[in-house]
Amino acid sequence: MENTIVKAENYNGYFGDNHVVKDVNISINKNEVIAVMGPSGCGKTTFLRGINRMHELIPGATSKGKILLDGENVYDMNAIYVRYKIGMVFQRPNPFPNLSIYENVVAGYMLNGLKVSKADKDVIVERSLTSAALWKEVKDSLHKKGTFLSGGQQQRLCIARAIAMQPELILFDEPTSALDPISTSSVEALFHELKANYTLIIVTHNMQQAARVSDRTAFFYMGELVEFDDTKQMFTNPADQRTQNYITGRFS
């Protein structure tokens, strides 16, 4: 129990009348890498965005049930604070185009008007970029705009930006879908290193990626959490027939 960082209790997500995420109960521990997989439209992204309350920003989107972060229900907390505490990386790399690489990393502090001394900022930038395996490549061009980097580098910059806020939990929404295979492997290698200090939840439509990177995997189908187990178990002998059908490619 001490080790649980996120717990969903009867969580339901809706788009208007559309019941997209049905009664999810799941418990995630610290320093785990959790993959969330499933076919398109199964509710995995909606569930992920329910955790840091990004879901409700869409007009007409509502949710019911609880999601506990370190024991506190995020729906009882201030939404902006929840988003501040949880990091998120999106499918398309989205560094701020008007800011330099340096400014992008500390954007979370600057945009929130938090006063940080130059020396501290330098430390944060170096530490975050190193954790994101990007420091060596950009340390001599920190004042160039972020949009001049390649896709894989931009995505790692977005990861550095999320890490800079020192969140306990980082959510990834299909983080390598828009990247080429080599950039994808460099980001996947990063997950292994980040595990030591953070908890990661990664939504992916690529089940091989789920197999490669995660400790435990959650399989969503038609809005329900069908199975949640050790990745090794899930891919060698899943308990549910639907899971087996999905991973063997019997249906998309």
Binding site: N52, M54, L57, P59, I80, Y81, V82, R83, Y84, K85, G87, M88, F90, R92, N94, P95, F96, P97, N98, A107, G108, M110, L111, N112, G113, K145, T147, C158, R161, A162, M165
Partner: protein
């Protein structure tokens, strides 16, 4: 088979030639106007011209400083009124496109854009001139501001619509509150587009005469007071070009040249801004 292909090729070439011809034809009026005004006006422009008020009838020389300063002040005040209001309205329309308010206010903006400039002038007359009891530069600015608004609003809205949602999402996911997302992320990213809308609207109103006819009126002397009548470049051109005196005709040519240069430069700057910054986006 052979002849049909031949005819088709010929028709194709003919069509292309016609298009190219008309593309050239269109540039002719602009070039003629530009060349003529430059020819007539450039000789008038000198330091004396730019720093003196018009001479009384009969005297040679004189300048257009009252109109220069007048246009500058009135357009400046109009901008100060129109830019904040326009940007806010544009931001609202971009952020909340599906509300009833957005629909109706958008409709009003489009209608406003089509209102004849003289009608705007009359409205300003009733709103500002009558209550104040005097023609004034302020009423002129108000009229100009009303004309600037639709352009600023629409360009702000369109620029912000072009920005990808992912930008807002990135900022929101960092725990940035909504007002800061708009002020510190969205607006700065769309800055070039918004600025181009502003320069475009200035280029539009700087040459407007009708709304100033019964608001700012005109003034032979240099005035910087907002509550008194003020001269403006287009008004001066109108007055002096239609007068019977040659000296005043010369002034009008010179003023036309200056006005034309302003408008040209503003349009070029707008074009450069949109091109340069769009690449970054």
């Amino acid at each position: 088979m052979e002849p049909r292909i031949g005819i088709r090729n010929f028709k194709s070439v003919l069509f292309k030639s016609v298009i190219i011809f008309f593309a050239f034809v269109i540039t002719i009026p602009l070039i003629i106007v530009l060349l003529y005004i430059i020819k007539q006006g450039i000789t008038q422009v000198n330091w004396h011209f730019l720093t003196h008020v018009p001479a009384p009838v009969g005297e040679a020389g004189g300048g257009i400083i009252n109109a220069l300063v007048g246009s500058f002040i009135m357009v400046g005040v109009a901008a100060i009124i129109a830019i904040p209001v326009g940007m806010m309205a544009g931001i609202y329309l971009s952020e909340n496109p599906r509300t009833k308010l957005a629909y109706y206010s958008g409709l009003c903006v489009d209608i406003l854009q089509g209102v004849p400039s003289i009608v705007v002038g009359i409205v300003a007359y009733f709103w500002v001139v009558k209550p104040l009891g005097t023609f004034s530069a302020l009423s002129g600015s108000m009229a100009l501001a009303i004309m600037m608004l639709p352009i600023v609003i629409r360009s702000t809205e369109q620029t912000l619509n072009l920005l990808p949602d992912s930008l807002k999402e990135a900022a929101l996911s960092l725990g940035v509150p909504y007002h800061r997302v708009i002020i510190k992320v969205i607006v700065p990213c769309g800055f070039a587009g918004i600025l181009s809308g502003i320069t475009l609207s200035i280029a539009r109103v700087i040459g407007e005469t009708a709304p100033l006819l019964f608001t700012a009126l005109g003034n032979s002397y240099l005035s910087v007071s907002l509550t008194k009548p003020m001269e403006s470049l287009p008004h001066l051109i109108f007055t002096y070009a239609t007068s019977p005196y040659d000296d005043w005709h010369n002034l009008a040519w010179g003023a036309s040249f200056i006005l034309l240069m302003f408008v040209l430069i503003l349009n070029i700057v707008t074009k450069l801004l949109t091109r340069k910054w769009k690449i970054q986006l």
